[in-house]
Amino acid sequence: MYKNMTTMNLIKKTTLSGLALLFFIFSLSSCKKDLPPAPEKLGNTTDLNVSADFDWKTSREITLNVIGLKEVNPIIANTLYVNSSAGVTYYKDLLTMNKDYTIKFAVPSTETSLMLKYGTKTLTLPITSNSLTFDYITQ
């Protein structure tokens, strides 16, 4: 009987301790949301884990494929301006409107879109990949 009582007490104590521990863990995880993010762990460069295919670039090369309008009179030629959203020109060149072109230039990796201007046509082109297309029709 005594043994049974002791066992019961032990079970009770264990259960209470378990609940308290769970509550403590829950409290910690709940509080975590309200805390500012932990500072990044800083170490030396030689301690970094680097993917073998990381290119280490702070810029990205863009290939812009310009699709000409084949039935346009060949005399129509203007300067294509490829600008940043802030108006900085990354590239400009003379393009005849009935021809296809492949243009290559680089932009900072932080750039998210390009502003294209050709005559009175303007287009905002999101940088969704390193290969973009401009066809004069979408504007």
Binding site: I76, D93, G119
Partner: protein, 476 residues
């Protein structure tokens, strides 16, 4: 007066180059294409109400122009040609009305440029569903649009009529300019006659030059080196710090005429006598006529055109042989006053009076200046080159050094260590480099996150945009 005569002649000359008929068989299958080349068409447009019926679904088994469903008397659908400098002759087209169930007319109208006066050339009443080929004599002179207008005058219940038209031929020349709101083409002033309008030509009086393109687009970029290759250094990335800017001058044929390259020797945080140069990977050295403005090149073999010999496929420019010739201070040590950067104004001539070097002209796209390949030469040992990660060595590199020390250079894995670390970085902008012995990871506080995320986080780690980006006490 002379100017007016010249512009008139130029305009007439331009027109002479145009086709003598304007045609449309809608074979592109997409109304947006025809809208793009100045036809008045658009299914959602309340004014036009016409579309291209693609996939060969037209009356003749090909793509045609089709009206919206003609449902009520107030509905009018239109198709318009571009502006045409008309010649007398016959306007021809094929057309049909599908599911005719009322009285519908197709009117053909000429709209005069400037005044927008309308002249009806024909009014055709649909009698049945059969295909009709139409030929309309006209004697117009001047610039007009031709408009086809479908008008309902009476209709029966549940009318589902649609007009279709194809194989349009109009005598005259297309003078619409799709690049300028489809207005009538007006030749611009082009003083040097290179094909680039004066208002867009940065050299309006020079037929051999048209544009300046810059890399980086503004200011200077930065190359920062560690010079202890093939062993690791302290990763302060200041053993040699070079600012760079390229101004690429090109002509109207897209070819590089000349490059003005400004190089700034900014820091020299090394006891070694390091040299610096770069390759233009897509440029045969014989395409360059001359190179001037470089520093001392003792110990290098330089050809008559100023490029380094022994690199037969990729032009190699040696900027200087020993950095300490140009900067006595390291410019990296905290507590020591900085000295100004040393500037090299390097000039690369690709074309002279429109004539390229023997290797031929290089287009701006083939030059692709973003692929320039800068390298440090360690302590006067020509073969001991340090390049940006993933960049190829020159033909002068000592390949026996590859794979020694911490280096793990092999095919497809150039100038990276066994743990994929580089010995140089290229930053698209002004980079405030770390002071002596200050590891870049401890100086730029998001550098590690940028690296370990493979560049997907903190793309602007090198900027100083916000608090917590860098430890200013560790920057020189």
């Amino acid at each position: 007066m002379k100017k007016i005569l010249f512009i008139t002649l130029l305009f007439l000359g331009a027109l002479a180059g145009f086709s003598q008929t304007v045609t449309n068989n809608f074979k592109d299958g997409n109304w947006k294409y025809y809208d793009g080349i100045c036809w008045g068409i658009g299914p959602e447009d309340k004014y036009f109400g016409t579309d291209v019926l693609g996939n060969g679904a037209g009356f003749n088994g090909t793509d045609v122009c089709q009206t919206a469903q003609l449902k009520n008397k107030s509905q009018i659908c239109r198709l318009e040609s571009p502006w045409i400098d008309m010649k007398s002759g016959k306007i021809q087209f094929d057309h049909v009305m599908k599911e005719l169930s009322g009285t519908i007319y197709l009117k053909v109208i000429a709209i005069k440029n400037v005044t927008n006066e309308e002249f009806q050339l024909a009014s055709i009443k649909y009698d049945d569903h059969t295909l009709k080929s139409v030929s309309i004599d006209e004697n117009l002179s001047g610039i007009y649009k031709i408009q086809w207008k479908w008008e309902v005058t009476s209709l029966k219940e549940d009318m589902k009529a649609r007009g279709q038209i194809d194989n349009i031929v109009i005598p005259g020349t297309n003078v619409s300019d799709p690049s300028h709101n489809c207005d009538v083409y007006i030749p611009c002033t082009d003083t040097d006659k290179d094909g680039v309008c004066d208002n867009e030509d940065q050299y309006p009086n020079d037929p051999d030059r048209a544009y300046d393109n810059y890399y980086p687009a503004t200011g200077f970029g930065t190359i920062a080196f560690e010079d202890n290759w093939p062993a690791y250094g302290d990763y302060d990335l200041n053993d040699l710090v070079m600012g760079y800017k390229f101004k690429i001058v090109s002509n109207a044929q897209h070819n590089v005429v000349e490059i003005f390259n400004t190089m700034l020797l900014r820091a020299n945080g090394a006891g070694m006598e390091n040299g610096f140069g770069y390759q233009l990977p897509n440029v045969n050295p014989t395409s360059i006529r001359s190179v001037t403005g470089t520093g001392d090149q003792t110990g290098y073999t330089i050809g008559a055109n100023g490029t380094e010999t022994g690199n037969p496929t990729n032009a190699t420019i040696i900027v200087f042989d020993r950095s300490h010739r140009y900067m006595n201070e390291w410019n990296t040590q905290l507590g020591v006053a900085p000295v100004p950067a040393y500037q090299f104004d390097i000039y690369l001539e690709f074309m002279k009076n429109g004539v390229p070097g023997p290797g031929g002209a290089i287009s701006v796209t083939n030059l692709n200046i973003a692929q320039w390949n800068p390298f440090l030469v360690v302590n006067g040992q020509r073969g001991r080159e340090v390049h940006l990660p993933n960049y190829l060595p020159t033909d002068q590199a000592d390949v026996t050094l590859f794979g020694t020390g911490d280096d793990d250079t092999r095919i497809g894995h150039y100038y990276k260590s066994k743990t994929n670390l580089p010995w140089a970085l290229d930053i698209y902008g002004q980079f405030d480099y770390p002071a002596e012995h200050m590891d870049i990871s401890l100086t730029y506080l998001h550098f590690g996150a940028w690296v370990e995320s493979s560049g997907s986080k903190f793309l602007d780690w090198w900027s100083n945009k916000g608090t917590g980006y860098r430890d200013n006490a560790k920057i020189y």
